[in-house]
């Protein structure tokens, strides 16, 4: 449709008509109010966070970002965000690293490979996984997953890959950065796989069948047709998963072991920004501690925003390079 078409089409200019239509006006008002409401809300949240962390910013300044400390004892108070930022990066990217191939695999299986009989039930199960409350996953993490990881997986990884600092001595209790990574993986897997499934389903069957007719194997078809078609969308799904992992608080609090330290060993205890806020906010006694916790929130906000922007930039670059057409909207 050309620009001329738009300008001459009468329905495009509802307010210049003979009468003002109630439905159109109310739609305009309701939709406008909703958009304005969200904008105002985000603005208020950001303002409140900046305002709340003012005391901590004044007392600590930028040193807060690189300091490894969390001592809430009145008279000895010292706070820093470095260990929590480290934990957030390690757990969220770790989870993404495991969840990405798994969830794309699940989506491929469900759209391309699975017989119809099991397609339905498995899809429903994956969807159900997304509906499990995070506090339940955390509980399961500490009672079931943690002990299993500690007694079998961690010791095995340590024996085989012990030369890599990441796989140090197995954890003492089930709570560790590693447990948090696995819990987060479970939480972002259904998100990424559901979106990927929808994307794969959108690939026109003529393209797929055409590729197969040309004699490609299934894998070649997936690589040559499905992936390029859905690449941008998958990247968007992964960014969504990453944001979810960064912001998850309760489930991580339950399994991460809450210690404000930086250790490369994945099996040691650690903490994340969101988890620390969730754990300590209610019990914060001094105003400086409260303010420092809100400062952690500000760090999380800025960091997730930056991570999102960088990820989108990468996606756009990749998309341009490969000349991706559809599904490339992020």
């Amino acid at each position: 449709m050309s620009a001329a078409d738009i300008s001459t089409e009468p329905t495009r200019r509802p307010f210049t008509g003979r009468r003002v239509r109630f439905g159109d006006v109310s739609l305009q008002l309701v939709a406008g109010a909703a958009a304005l409401g969200v904008t105002v809300l985000v603005g208020l949240i950001v303002w409140k966070i900046v305002d709340g962390s003012r005391l901590a910013i004044v007392k600590n300044g930028w040193a807060f970002l690189i300091r490894v400390a969390w001592n809430p004892v009145p008279g000895r108070e010292l706070y820093g965000a470095a260990s929590f930022l480290f934990g957030t990066v390690l757990t969220s990217f770790g989870a993404l690293l495991i969840a990405a191939p798994l969830s794309i695999g699940v989506a491929l299986f469900l759209t391309e490979l699975a017989p119809r009989v099991i397609q339905g039930p498995v899809t429903a199960l994956v969807e159900t996984l997304a509906a499990v409350p995070s506090v339940l996953i955390g509980l399961w993490g500490i009672y079931v997953l943690g002990p299993v990881l500690r007694t079998s997986i961690e010791s095995w990884l340590h024996t085989v890959f012990g030369f890599i600092p990441l796989f140090g001595d197995p954890s003492a209790a089930g709570a560790s950065i590693f447990t948090a990574i696995i819990v987060l993986t479970i939480m972002i897997l259904p998100i990424v796989s559901s979106i990927s499934r929808e994307l794969f389903r959108e690939v026109p069957s003529e393209l797929k069948e055409g590729a197969l007719a040309l004699g490609t194997t299934r894998w070649e078809m997936v690589r040559g047709v499905i992936f390029p078609y859905a690449r941008g969308g998958i990247a968007a799904a992964l960014i969504l998963g990453l944001s979810r992992a960064m912001g998850e608080a309760i489930a991580v609090t339950q399994v991460v072991g809450g210690s404000p330290t930086i250790q490369w060993n994945l099996f040691s205890t650690g903490d994340t920004l969101a988890s620390k806020i969730a754990a300590a906010y209610q019990g914060a006694v001094t105003s400086l501690q409260l303010s420092s916790l809100i400062y952690l929130g500000l760090v999380l906000l800025v960091f997730s925003l930056l991570a999102n922007l960088v990820a989108q930039w990468i996606v756009r670059r990749v998309a341009r390079k490969h000349g991706v057409t559809r599904g490339g909207h992020v």
Partner: protein
């Protein structure tokens, strides 16, 4: 096109109706359910919350008042009473001098008494294990790392202790239970007092942090060799073993009502701010369990709700201490001398 207009009209009509419903419901909800008594609102300690919730129904019956309590943590309770957004706050740790100044004309009244159990999980050892303060401090410092350490073995003669590593489980959130424990450790260990200190949350030298008593108990029960802490009711409900603690008379006591009450009697004279310190009581209280604590209600001295507030707190420290409310939760009724202190403090509230 008319079809679209109609549907939009329907949608907006529904939206308007929903909005109206919300507004109506909101106004209705704002009115108290029963207009007979006053509504008293409080916030704070999660430690005392189960007890306050037990009181809620009873207060309605006895005084005709409606009691609202938000279990938001001691710190938030102090913040809210300081801002006067609630009628009373509740805190496990006594207010600091700074907090008193900020609260501007507040007083704290001891209104519940409980103990902290040191839980452990050591499969294969059937005996009730013994522990003393200095050894416990070394364990929480990470200086004692094995169960068969000579210091633990000395306290448990005749028990074969395994070579299992000790894992500490502590609270990752602020907590009155933590305050009680580290207050005790500061009393029995100069090193703890100078390096770590006493607060509702501290910079733990070692261990696994978990949220809430439930989190700590989960780590302890799922980790052989673990040591953690929680209020007594919690460890009993979860069938977790806990140490008999050596007190200053040399006796090993458990956090039962006898031991906690004996400890409570050790400080009959509260400080000017009504705070009482009953951890690590002196030798002559030979039955005392050394990790016991009072928890406090914080009220403004001058308040428009003085009459209702006085009635309620008086009820809480007298009728509210009865076994029907306290026994199941392992709170111990306030001893006489403390009751006298509480009553004097209640009398000071005025409008």
């Amino acid at each position: 096109m008319p079809k679209l207009g109609t549907s939009i009209r329907i949608v907006s009509a529904v939206a308007a109706a929903a909005l109206l419903a919300v507004v109506v419901a909101g106004t209705a909800g704002a009115r108290p359910a029963k207009s007979a008594g006053a509504t008293i609102s409080g916030a704070g300690s999660t430690f005392v919350a189960p007890l306050v919730f037990q009181w809620q129904a009873a207060v309605g019956g006895a005084l005709g008042d409606t009691l609202n309590y938000a279990s938001v943590g001691s710190g938030a309770g102090i913040t809210q009473i300081t801002a006067r957004t609630v009628d009373f706050g509740a805190s496990d740790a006594p207010l600091s001098a700074d907090q008193f100044t900020a609260c501007n004309g507040c007083e704290q009244i001891p209104w519940a008494l409980g103990g902290t159990a040191i839980m452990y999980n050591l499969p294969g050892v059937k005996n009730l294990l013994h522990m003393d303060g200095p050894t416990l401090a070394k364990i929480f410092f990470g200086q004692i790392t094995k169960w068969n350490d000579p210091a633990i073995a000395k306290l448990n003669k005749g028990v074969t202790l395994p070579d299992t590593a000790i894992t500490i489980a502590h609270r990752s959130d602020g907590s009155g239970t933590t305050y009680n424990l580290v207050d005790y450790l500061s009393h029995v260990s100069a090193a703890w007092n100078s390096q770590i200190g006493t607060a509702t949350a501290v910079n733990w030298p070692v261990g696994v942090g978990a949220k809430g008593s439930s989190g700590v108990t989960a780590v302890v029960t799922s980790t052989p060799g673990a040591i953690g802490y929680a209020d007594v009711a919690y460890s009993l409900a979860n069938h977790v073993k806990y140490f008999a603690m050596k007190n200053n008379s040399g006796k090993f006591t458990t956090p039962g009502s006898r031991g906690i009450l004996a400890a409570a009697l050790s400080d009959p004279k509260p400080a000017a701010d009504n705070s009482l310190s009953i951890v690590n009581p002196p030798k002559k209280f030979d039955n005392a369990y050394p990790i016991s604590t009072f928890t406090y209600v914080i009220v403004p001295l001058q308040t428009s709700k003085a009459a209702d507030l006085k009635k309620f707190i008086f009820w809480a420290v007298t009728q509210g201490q009865k076994g029907t409310y306290t026994a199941k939760l392992r709170f111990v009724p306030l001893p006489k001398p403390v009751l006298v202190v509480a009553e004097k403090a209640i009398a000071k509230i005025h409008s």
